[in-house]
Subunit: 293 residues, 2 copies
């Protein structure tokens, strides 16, 4: 399918993409670049990439598919580094968790070449960052959201569908705006809440005792609080307007529950929790239909 994958950013997301393309026989050769030479070297030793490139531009040179797998705040600078080689014979994609800012950067930097870029957000991840955690199955059975714009090349958009589908992912299209609003609600706000909750625990003098006593509910509720700080700094800042709107809604819902507790209204509390518990019990990741039965 492709001769050469140029990988810019050899971390968890980029490394897993490289492994998956290789396993599926979709690419002959992988050339990788990372800001840190030790990361690139590790990726080469692990067989995630075949060759290290000395710059992002050199990773693009000779490639017919390029994946930008860098923190979203680095999108602008990465586009600047490679823009002279951006052309519609090459499929360019990213893996960023926010899309409006990425699309803005693409428009701003790539200008009339923006059509070669197909913005992508794979709904997957691990709380463990780094190429050492790269996983050939990271994208398997997961959703990939593509957020094309009017200028996006239909040929490359089709190729993007094909490559993600070929590694076992399920592709769906949205506008960048709808994407960012939805992911503020279902992903970014939960991260903010998990960070805030864990912070409030650590701020108490009994925090060590608390952490020693915590059980499986705590473990799952706080798993995302272990997420990579640099990546989440960028996501939260980039999508802050939508996230703050969602946080406001959340505070409202919390306030209602708090008031019911204060007033000791057991029946009202049970009524509020019953619908939630029922809906969550029947929810399945990636199902999306018939949820409110």
């Amino acid at each position: 399918m492709f001769k050469q994958l140029g990988l810019i950013g050899c971390g968890l997301m980029g490394g897993s993409f490289a492994l998956a393309l290789k396993q599926a026989g979709l690419v002959e050769r992988i050339i990788g670049y990372s800001k840190s030479p030790s990361t690139t070297e590790r990726a080469r030793q692990m067989g995630v990439i075949d060759q290290a490139a000395e710059s992002a531009l050199l990773a693009v040179s000779g490639s017919d598919i390029v994946l930008l797998a860098v923190p979203v705040a680095a999108t602008d600078i990465t586009f600047r580094a490679i823009r002279h080689l951006v052309n519609p014979d090459v499929l360019f994609m990213d893996v960023g968790s926010t899309k409006r800012d990425v699309v803005d950067a693409a428009r701003r930097v790539l200008k009339e070449r923006v059509g070669a870029f197909v913005p992508a957000h794979p709904i997957t991840g691990k709380e463990l960052a780094g190429v050492q955690h790269a996983d050939v199955d990271l994208y398997k059975d997961r959703r990939i959201i593509l957020t094309p714009i009017a200028q996006t090349s239909p040929v490359l958009l089709e190729k993007a569908h094909a490559v993600w589908t070929a590694i076992g992912a399920h592709v769906q299209e949205m506008t960048p705006e709808a994407h960012d609003a939805a992911f503020a609600a279902v992903s970014h706000l939960p991260h903010l809440l998990a960070f805030a909750y864990f912070t409030s625990i650590l701020q108490q003098k009994e925090s060590e005792q608390f952490l020693a006593l915590a059980g499986p509910g705590f473990r799952d509720f706080t798993r995302i609080a272990a997420s990579d700080p640099a990546i989440w700094r960028d996501i939260l800042i980039a999508n802050r307007e939508e996230i703050l709107k969602q946080s406001e809604r959340f505070r409202g819902a919390l306030g209602v529950l708090e008031q019911v507790l204060r007033d000791c209204q057991g029946e009202a509390l049970e009524a509020l929790v019953t619908g939630v518990s029922h809906t969550r019990s029947h929810w399945r990741m990636g199902a999306g239909k018939n949820l409110k039965k």
Copy 2:
């Protein structure tokens, strides 16, 4: 070790305790009572109990160990039903997630017989309630918090340690007050937050689309929102003072993060998240030592 276990409440917690005692050969016979006759019958058909009792009192009659596995708000009425048979030759325990209210009820109802009751809280659970989800390994490698009071019989307290240890759990003692403060922080508040967050999603007109897009982070963060409404109504109401204190702290921590987002302070945000991410990455359930390295 015991001749007969009297099980009052044949749900997930009670059923799992019965299965574990049987498997470990700690009890010859199990007699069970549930408010709903169909639950008791199901437990009998599943082999969780050997015989159904027609009342809580009859489940205690002839038993040398009794487990109250009912929602915490039912503790008072259950003690009233059995108090005439409460005596220091029998080990009485509960499995409630709150302890001050349970101990208060025991003092109030059992009076001078309160020493026969050893308050217990196993740190385990599932979002799936009911005897059909009973699991012989539910308590294995999990912590059990015992909250004895001055009157608690030392002999029965020792027996309580022995029985939980024999089914693979790790036993620890705390005061009822310290227990309730700690679990408000590490268990009850996360449930309240998960309920509030899920509510705020359901209240939006795009909720179906949101739920269809949600990924593994959302799945884990909201798992506890599927918890049993009646059980959590009781826990949240019983421990509301401590929970509201913890919620106040949480709102403070969330407010700081929101302000940093509003001010677009990427570095400050990263600094705040880094300590949290590091500590959570190194946390292991039940470890409790050397967490802040």
